[in-house]
């Protein structure tokens, strides 16, 4: 709680407290705390003198600002047409099997969340997946598994 409060304060000091600074502040919170807790959104609302509903409305518009808990690593597989045609479904299946979760879910150890994304702008090199901030193009199921194992070797054994 105190931590969140200080974090918001730091971000507000850094970016400023006008409404225009809402997005960088929310991004800062997500960078640090992974997702926007109710508490964090209320703190931001207080700092910028907005209603908490306004903060929530803004946050929920952006796919990269989470208002619900997510894992430490967020895997996004592009679902748009080019990637769909170049085999994104196989990638999804491989990841689901490896992590034992379904699309949209988070692993029990809170390490990974798997979601779909819209076009990532790499259509000529599909299928494409984004893990946290890194784009991986022309992936195969094997490559996807390697990428995840690099992040968390624990998953070596369960496959």
């Amino acid at each position: 709680m105190i931590q969140t409060k200080n974090l918001v304060k730091e971000l507000v000091d850094k970016h400023g407290c006008s409404r225009n600074n809402l997005l960088p502040i929310l991004q800062g919170v997500v960078a640090d705390e992974n997702y926007l807790t109710e508490k964090a959104m209320v703190e931001v609302a207080k700092a910028l003198d907005l209603s908490s509903a306004e903060v929530y409305g803004t946050a929920s518009f952006y796919s990269y600002l989470f208002t619900k808990p997510v894992g430490k690593n967020v895997i996004r597989v592009c679902k748009t047409i080019s990637c769909k045609m170049s085999g994104k479904q196989k990638i999804v299946q491989a990841i689901e099997k490896l992590l034992k979760i379904k699309m949209g879910e988070t692993t029990r150890d809170k390490q990974f969340t798997l979601i779909e994304s819209n076009c990532l702008g790499w259509c000529h090199k599909g299928p494409v997946m984004l893990v946290n901030d890194d784009v991986y193009s022309e992936i195969t199921p094997e490559k996807a598994i390697d990428i995840i194992r690099d992040l968390d070797p624990k998953h070596l054994t369960d496959f």
Partner: protein, 594 residues
């Protein structure tokens, strides 16, 4: 301002630059259908129902959003336009939980009217209504049914632009976009004032007031119960709109008759308790001034601010919880009435208060919440058993099959049915202030307030914040400490203006002694429980009717109301006395701000 000329449906029109095509069309009586547009709100341009053809433009233009230009040639009713509108409405309907037979807004719904106008029969679009949308009935005042929402965002703009509460927002995007509160909390947990402004600005049945009229029918049908109803000042100048009368008609006498025909045992007047509020509040103000000016009591908060608008009260409890000391401790007229109906009235009539069902008819959604505040049981019972809106009463009159226009006029019953012009003007912004000044000035100086015909024009009208100052001279001996004091007052309506007034108070820079605040634009005549539509023009007409009502009253000062004089003699003894404190005053609660 430069004037431009254009043609709409072959009619020439001149209009100020900056106005929209829709404005121009109105000027020459060309009706263009709209949905997301509302006169009170900023342009959203999100529904496209208002599209028109502009010569030289390949695409259709949204007339509510596109500025008129010099030389424009506009066609509003071509096959292309009609087909586009039909498609747009059909697509809206395909996402809509079309249940007109069971919908409260049926016959007063903009989507229904558009569907009829554009003949959306045999809709060729599949229904893509999301399953399992739950209706939020958590609030005492507001009901929210997302399955009937057309996502026009009129509610969001209302809550932001008129009220500056921002309880509602747009969450998500694309097909997941919806109107929600913070974290999609139920409305009773949101920072919502229950003002109901979103309800009167919603074109469909997505936002409605919680309805309690079935309870009233039940009470009326129960022979053991004695049903008393009090009707607020602004109801009598608005209810006619639901019953075939033009806007601004005063139908007080017929309204009273209709309530008697419904079977209500006693039809009484909130104007009576408004008069009582004025007396109590007037004395409270003078007492505060004495304590602050003579006794130098620093715990006394000035300016004193009125407390009769429960939407405003909840607003200040949320947004300025540190400044509740400025609120008058007087209950609203509704709650004063309720507490007295089960004590004084019961005693006088010899009725066991447990058998009394006390109902109020209000222009308001927030009064429903207020009636259910846990502390509002000073009579030993729930002081008010149900609060209905003007709209609900309109429905009840229709349900009863009454031919309203043919009803004779009748008078309010007694006791607690007698009122004054001062009580009547409570219904318009500035009215409480005017009534309070008529009384307080006379108490202090023994003379009429120094305005022509008692009409204190500076506090009237639709300006967001109004000010006035009255110099107190030749005061009576009791009030000599006020000699030469210039009493400064302000009036705010619409919570966005209330916030401005409060920012000043919070900064310790408020120059006023007394402030009136009403949550709704225009005051109660524009309340969240009034007939739909409500807009500036309609608010003005209803206000005019209220002031006519005042001018037609034999007594126009609250403290001269014979029943008020009597209740002090027989029951309350004195203003701010022990009985008043127990029954007519209240305290407030800090609530969370964010």
């Amino acid at each position: 301002m430069s004037i431009i000329n254009l043609t709409i449906d072959n009619k020439k029109v001149s209009i100020e630059k900056g106005q929209t095509i829709l404005d121009a069309a109105k000027k020459v009586n060309v009706r263009i259908p709209t949905l997301c547009h509302h006169e009170d709100l900023c342009v959203a341009g999100n529904c496209r129902v208002c599209v028109v053809e502009v010569e030289g433009s390949k695409t259709l233009s949204a007339s509510c959003a596109v500025p008129a230009e010099d030389g424009m040639v506009v066609k509003t009713n071509t096959p292309k336009v009609r087909n586009a509108r039909k498609d747009i409405v059909a697509l809206l309907v395909s996402e809509h939980n079309t249940q007109c037979t069971t919908c409260y807004r049926s016959m007063n719904c903009e989507l229904q009217a558009l569907s009829a106008e554009y003949n959306i029969d045999n809709n060729r679009y599949l229904s893509v209504l999301k399953p399992n949308i739950e209706i939020d009935r958590s609030s005492w005042s507001i009901e929210k049914d997302d399955s009937k929402c057309v996502r026009c965002q009129r509610c969001v703009r209302t809550c932001a632009e008129l009220q500056h509460v921002n309880a509602l927002t747009v969450s998500g995007k694309g097909k997941d976009m919806k109107i929600s509160t913070f974290m999609d909390l139920p409305l009773n947990e949101a920072i919502c004032t229950n003002c109901g402004q979103c309800v009167i600005h919603c074109p469909t049945g997505a936002l409605t007031e919680r309805r309690y009229f079935d309870r009233v029918w039940e009470a009326i049908g129960n022979e053991k119960k004695h049903v008393v109803i009090n009707t607020a000042p602004s109801v009598r100048v608005a209810i006619g709109e639901m019953l075939g009368y033009p806007v601004g008609s005063r139908v007080t006498g017929k309204m009273v008759t209709s309530l008697k025909r419904l079977g209500v045992d006693s039809v009484l007047d909130t104007d009576f308790s408004a008069d009582l509020t004025i007396v109590e509040e007037g004395y409270e103000l003078l007492q505060r001034l004495r304590k602050a000016l003579v006794e130098n009591d620093t715990s006394i908060k000035l300016p004193m601010i009125t407390s009769c608008s429960p939407g405003w009260v909840k607003f200040i409890e949320h947004i300025f919880p540190e400044h509740l000391g400025h609120l008058s401790t007087c209950k609203s007229p509704q709650q004063m009435f309720g507490a007295l109906s089960k004590t004084y009235y019961a005693e006088k009539k010899g009725i066991d208060p447990k058998d009394i069902v006390s109902i109020s008819i209000m222009p308001c959604a927030a009064k429903k919440f207020e009636a259910n505040r846990p502390e509002m049981n000073d009579s030993g019972y729930r002081d008010i058993d149900a609060g209905l809106t003007t709209r609900e009463l309109g429905h009840m009159i229709n349900q009863a099959g009454l031919n309203f226009a043919e009803l004779e006029d009748s008078e309010f019953d007694s006791i607690m049915g007698e009122s004054t012009g001062a009580g009547a003007i409570f219904g318009a912004t500035g009215g409480v202030m005017e009534a309070a000044l008529r009384t307080a000035y006379e108490l202090v100086t023994g003379r009429d307030v120094p305005f022509d015909n008692l009409n204190i024009l500076p506090v009237r009208g639709m300006e967001g914040i109004k000010e006035a100052a009255i110099k107190l001279e030749n005061c009576l001996p009791d009030w000599s400490f006020l000699e030469g004091v210039e009493l400064k007052v302000a009036v705010a309506h619409g919570l966005i203006n209330a916030r401005k007034i409060m920012d000043q108070v919070a900064a310790g820079k408020s120059p006023y002694h007394f402030i009136e605040v009403m949550a709704c634009p225009g005051g109660c005549i524009g309340g969240g429980g009034q007939p739909i539509p409500t807009n500036d023009e309609i608010r003005k007409k209803r206000a005019e009717a209220i002031y006519e009502e005042d001018m037609n009253m034999p007594v126009r000062k609250s403290h001269k109301n014979p029943e008020i004089i009597k209740i002090y003699k027989e029951f309350l003894k004195e203003p701010l006395g022990e009985v008043s404190h127990r029954l007519l005053h209240t305290s407030y609660k800090k609530r969370n701000h964010y």
